[in-house]
């Protein structure tokens, strides 16, 4: 699209992008500082285990999620079986569940002291742990299962869309050639969905690398927990920054992989022609198996933990229904709303510049701004604190220079820092969502607008924004859910005395008393559910 944009737009775009990648720059420069021998010591002792734990965890969670999600996605996209219309959206619900809550609930169930092992013991007459073998829940394997249970919907969602978009005529061709559902799945659907699966897998991998609460509850030290501990146990910000940089290398490798996969995706996926859906009608044992599989998955990943949460909350309602609960809910809410609005504004601005400007250089800001999502909360926290602390002191020095009393830590000592961190981490989601919407707006509309004398602002306001409504709304909702759940950044950055629902719930989880925080956990889940259901609706309508 050719429209001369004033330089101001580009400057704004670059400023925004630089602000967003500032933590990254700060982090890398911090990690280059000399360090008081903490890092070499870590390297000699525990670091290899941290790294291998991180890599294995990512590996198993990705494999686990793929194994769970692909069959579900294919069944829902291509087959007709009882309950399909419910599973279609219900299988997204686990996304609203924080992984550490699921982990807690399952630990309670499967621990040595939990009901499962207790009944096994009384049934078989076992006395001590030496009498039998039972897999340890709080282990690398356990953490992988918990994370896979809540993260698989990312792959499910993308795979389902990919399966549905696969051209109907191709499937019909395979049917004509005598392929049954199985063969069609293996020979056609699966290979064609590969790019979508890779994108989903990369998302799952990034979320896994960012997980702090589950692994710390399960005592499986990974790089994320190591960053936290190094900072606070050894008191070395530099060593923590060095660890973070290692982690970033791992993550950028994954992001690169994802980008690579997505580049191919365009070649593979063509929107299917409107018309009847290509559906295999399952019956008898096959239908039963399909329904059984989906309902088991839904139960394990969402219903069971949720019911247990409700049970806890009911039992401890009187203690939990208090002032703090309302205060923290309010904190979570206003931060999430504010951050989603800001992220969407960033997304609109950057994508607008990119669409409208003929300059190649104007593509860069939106790319840069999308890297924030790759920074796990713990890493982001370090990166953001360093520059903002300097800024805080500069402001105070300036004010005091003019003879007034300095305002104190107005940036790092207030909730500003959390809002900022969340915006940096989640801007990418809004950008992505708006980018998708933009792709559907024909460039001829822009030209028509310009012909009719619209200036850039007018074009944005009168043509683009009305057409972007859906993408904007989806972006708002996605960022909102993520903000409600995000823990590590809030844990590290919250101004002293400030809590939100996530930090509040985690405090109880780490004290092994989730019962008291169950009500707050339910709020996180419920507030996340509404956007999920809405989003799914709008996706279905698109298809």
């Amino acid at each position: 699209m050719v429209l001369g944009l004033a330089k101001g737009w580009s400057v704004a775009g670059y400023t925004l992008a630089l602000l967003i990648i500032m933590p990254l720059i700060a982090l890398i420069s911090q990690s280059l500082m000399p360090d008081e021998a903490v890092f070499p010591h870590l390297f000699d002792t525990v670091l290899p285990t941290y790294i291998s734990n991180s890599l294995w965890l990512i590996f198993w969670v990705v494999i686990g999620s793929l194994i769970i999600a692909i069959p579900a996605a294919w069944l829902v996209a291509k087959c007709q079986f009882p309950g399909r219309s419910v599973f279609q959206w219900a299988l997204l619900l686990p996304l609203a569940m924080p992984a550490y809550v699921v982990a807690y609930v399952y630990t309670d169930l499967f621990d040595y002291a939990g009901p499962v092992q207790r009944s096994l013991r009384s049934f078989f007459g076992w006395q001590t742990p030496q009498d039998y073998y039972f897999p340890e829940v709080r282990s690398l394997g356990g953490a992988s299962i918990m994370l896979a249970l809540v993260l698989f919907p990312y792959i499910y969602l993308l795979a389902r869309t990919a399966f549905m978009e696969q051209s109907t005529s191709l499937s019909q061709a395979t049917r004509v050639m005598g392929c049954g559902p199985w063969k069609s799945f293996w020979r056609l659907s699966l290979p064609m969905a590969r790019p979508a699966l890779a994108v989903g897998a990369a998302l799952v991998a990034m979320e896994t690398a960012a997980d702090f609460a589950t692994v710390s509850y399960f005592a499986v030290p990974t790089l994320t927990t190591a960053v936290y501990d190094t900072w606070f146990e050894y008191g070395s910000l530099t060593a923590a920054a060095k660890l973070s940089t290692i982690m970033l290398l791992v993550i950028f490798a994954m992001v690169g992989f994802e980008r690579f996969a997505r580049r191919k995706q365009k070649l593979f996926q063509k929107p299917s022609a409107p018309g009847e859906l290509d559906v295999y009608s399952l019956s008898g044992i096959k239908a039963l198996a399909a329904t059984g599989y989906c309902s088991a998955l839904l139960t394990l990943a969402f219903l069971l933990p949720f019911i247990i949460l409700v049970k806890y909350a009911y039992g401890y309602f009187a203690q939990s229904w208090n002032q703090e609960f309302f205060e923290y809910s309010f904190n979570s809410l206003w931060i999430s709303v504010l951050v989603s609005l800001i992220c969407v504004a960033i997304g609109i601005l950057l994508m607008f510049i990119r669409r409208i400007s003929p300059r190649r250089a104007d593509v860069l800001p939106s790319r840069l701004a999308s890297t924030g999502y790759a920074l796990p909360g713990t890493v982001l926290a370090i990166g953001i604190l360093v520059p903002f602390t300097h800024l805080d002191f500069a402001i105070n020095d300036l004010v005091e220079y003019f003879g007034f009393e300095g305002p104190g830590l107005i940036l790092t000592g207030s909730s500003f820092i959390i809002v900022c961190a969340f915006c940096i981490r989640f801007a990418a989601i809004a950008i992505g969502s708006i980018e998708n919407s933009y792709k559907r707006i024909s460039p001829s509309l822009d030209m028509a607008g310009i012909t009719m004398g619209l200036k850039p602002v007018g074009l944005l306001r009168r043509v683009h924004i009305p057409l972007l409504r859906k993408g904007v709304f989806a972006g708002l909702l996605l960022v909102f859910i993520e903000c409600m759940k995000e823990l590590p950044a809030a844990l590290l950055l919250r101004p002293i005395g400030f809590e939100n629902l996530a930090t509040y719930v985690f405090q109880f989880v780490s004290d092994e008393q989730l019962e008291h925080g169950a009500l707050a956990a339910i709020v996180i889940v419920l507030v996340g559910l509404i956007p999920l259901i809405y989003l799914n609706r709008s996706l279905e309508h698109d298809n």
Binding site: T49, P129, P221, F393, N396, E405, G408, L409
Partner: protein
């Protein structure tokens, strides 16, 4: 001009209100807020000084370092002695000289330079299963005894309470011997270190292990909670090393923040915390041992019996803290 004037007035009022805030104090606390809030409320009632307490489990020292001269902290409360040392080491506190504090808190439990004061003590006890082991005459050294193979539970070795214990072992036995001991202890663990002290008691009561290590006050708290009483009832509390040097003692404490804008009021609060009334609340609410000699522990705590405490002055432990963490990493205690 009128505009400028009114703006100036508004601005000055704002700054004045900040300056007026000097009649309030901010406490940074590693200790849980619920524990100290009732005490602070009483203090406000008596003195009119408002106290804001902000709670954080980790990283208060790091935060204060970053905040530097802009920090709002007046007093820091910690639940572990090393956190006090850390504040001193990082130059975040200043001496608080007060005759009342010196009178209330025995020499053993305060810094020689008035840089910190202990408020309460707790013993690092060894819990044993009532049914399977009964009351024991046990030493910390025995945790490495092969006869307890697969029978011991503990929280993370890196938790401050355990690090302090390891530091005290280094102080008494030297690094090499402590390392061997740690390896032996690790080999005896029934499961990877996890959970908090409460979770260890639960594990013993469920038969997962026979021995656990934990602070004395957890037992009191569990006996109070109807749901957890059954766990606590299943264990015996043992004071280790009674036939030799005595049990390892940890303290909670307080220090005056370096950049406190209102030192006089802060010291007033510190004196209040060391006084009879506050000490009693600590003893009753949290089942800790008061440091003030004439305040007695709660009835429940008293019923556990008297014990001999390790004589090693606690500030000595600070010297071995770094070595303790490194040893824990070297033997991969938590992995």
């Amino acid at each position: 001009m009128k505009m400028v004037k009114s703006l100036a007035v508004i601005g000055l009022t704002c700054f004045a209100s900040i300056a007026n805030a000097a009649d309030s104090l901010t406490v940074y606390s590693y200790r849980q807020a619920f524990l100290i809030e009732p005490i602070l409320e009483n203090f406000t009632k008596e003195t009119g000084i408002k106290v804001d307490v902000v709670f954080s489990k980790k990283g208060i020292a790091e935060r204060m370092m970053r905040e530097g001269r802009l920090s709002k902290a007046d007093i820091v409360l910690t639940s572990d002695f090393y956190r006090l040392m850390e504040l001193v080491e990082k130059d975040l506190v200043v001496p608080a000289s007060s005759d009342i504090l010196k009178q209330n808190i025995p020499e053993k439990y305060r810094s020689p330079d008035d840089e910190w004061y202990a408020l309460t003590m707790r013993v690092r006890n060894v819990y044993s299963s009532k049914d399977r082991l009964g009351k024991l005459d046990i030493n910390y050294e025995d945790l490495a005894d092969p006869k307890y193979k697969g029978k011991i539970c503990t929280r993370s070795g890196k938790h401050p309470y355990n690090v302090s214990l390891v530091a005290s072992m280094i102080a008494h036995h030297g690094e090499q011997e402590t390392k061997t001991w740690l390896e032996g202890w690790k080999a005896n663990l029934a499961r990877k270190p996890q959970g908090n002290d409460r979770a260890q008691v639960k594990a013993v009561s469920e038969g997962l292990c026979d021995l656990a290590i934990g602070n004395s006050y957890y037992l009191g708290k569990m006996l109070q909670d109807p749901k957890q009483k059954a766990w606590a009832d299943a264990i015996e509390i043992n004071f280790p090393n009674q036939d030799n040097r005595g049990s390892h003692i940890n303290v909670s404490g307080m220090a005056l923040a370096k950049h406190s804008k209102n030192q006089a009021a802060a010291i007033e609060l510190m004196e209040y915390l060391s006084g009879d009334k506050a000490q009693q609340v600590y003893a009753e609410v949290n089942f800790e041992y008061p440091v003030k000699a004439d305040v007695s522990p709660s009835k429940l705590v008293a019923s556990w019996g008297t014990f001999k405490a390790d004589d090693l002055p606690i500030y000595k432990l600070a010297e071995y803290h770094g070595a303790a963490i490194k040893l824990l990493d070297e033997v991969k205690f938590d992995l």
